[in-house]
Amino acid sequence: MENFHIDGSTYIPRIDFNAQTGVLELEGESYHEYTTEFFGPIFSWLEDYLEAPGKEITLNFKMSYFNTSSSRRFLEILTMLEDYQNDKEGKVTVNWYYEENDVDMLESGEEYADDVELSFNLLPY
């Protein structure tokens, strides 16, 4: 399966999904006006990727800012991974990086960790 990559810019995150290693990375800022359009291809790739059972997946989430519309899309990604873990014997780890002192980004991570049943590491940098 092909890897998936999007170069980051001012309002879209860098996205690097590696099909071989199972390391999925999102980094930067996310406030595209039309997040359903922007995230569409990302969801399609993930759907295909999560077809085969039993993978070990690491999601590295290193965002410095995202708007409320993106926060919905991120929950959708996490829910897909949660379903994968529950229904397809996958093993998923989420590394949630937040800038040290960024209490808001830490709280966001804690809230997602409460919303989905996945192993969450909250990591200051």
């Binding site: 001012t10 406030y31 006006e33 919905r72 960024d102 809230e111």
Partner: protein
């Protein structure tokens, strides 16, 4: 007719300590530009990010929901027109947006704002998570989380003011105060 005086306008802006004011189409490029300028706010990084977050939510409300739209060549679609400004007093930044909305949309907006303003911080957090889990609203590109996020990020209630605009539209003014101290 009196001519528009840029000088008077500039004096008014500085008297009210308005550091940012934008009137026009809220395209993606404008958002990015506002974002960059806010990064230079001389406060802590967390406060600067909160200001930025609130301005982005307001700008996106205008982009999607303003009842006054203009066609943007670059974006290839009609985009909302409105105003966003940041002023300050000794203890707060005051972020304000203004845009037209259809008159019938006024009561539900006020009702939602009042409801959100009345929630304790814990309840507010719970409501945010509930609404984020709820399905995307049909035909609405927004997340339905903007007001909640503004109250959470600012720690203050949101204020709404409605002015008459024309037969079918009202002018919707939204203000949020952000404390300068964390």
């Amino acid at each position: 007719m009196e001519h528009f005086s840029v000088k008077t306008f500039k004096q008014q802006l500085s008297a009210r300590k308005i550091s940012l004011a934008f009137q026009g189409i809220f395209s993606q490029d404008v958002l990015a530009l506002i974002g960059k300028s806010l990064r230079n706010t001389p406060e802590s990084r967390v406060i600067a990010k909160r200001l930025f977050a609130i301005v982005i939510e307001m700008a996106q409300n205008i982009h999607h929901y303003s009842a006054e739209k203009q066609y943007s060549e670059k974006d290839g679609r009609d985009i909302g027109v409105g105003i966003v400004a940041i002023a300050e007093d000794d203890d707060h930044y005051i972020i304000t947006s203004g845009n037209c909305i259809i008159k019938t949309e006024v009561p539900p907006l006020i009702e939602r704002a009042n409801y959100i303003n009345g929630l304790s911080p814990d309840k507010l957090k719970q409501f945010y998570r509930e609404q984020r889990k709820a399905p995307q609203r049909e035909g609405k590109p927004g997340a339905n989380l903007g007001f909640i996020d503004m109250v959470r990020k600012s720690g203050n209630p949101i204020e709404i003011n409605i002015k008459d605009y024309d037969e079918t539209r009202s002018f919707f003014i939204l203000s949020v105060k952000v404390n300068k101290e964390l």
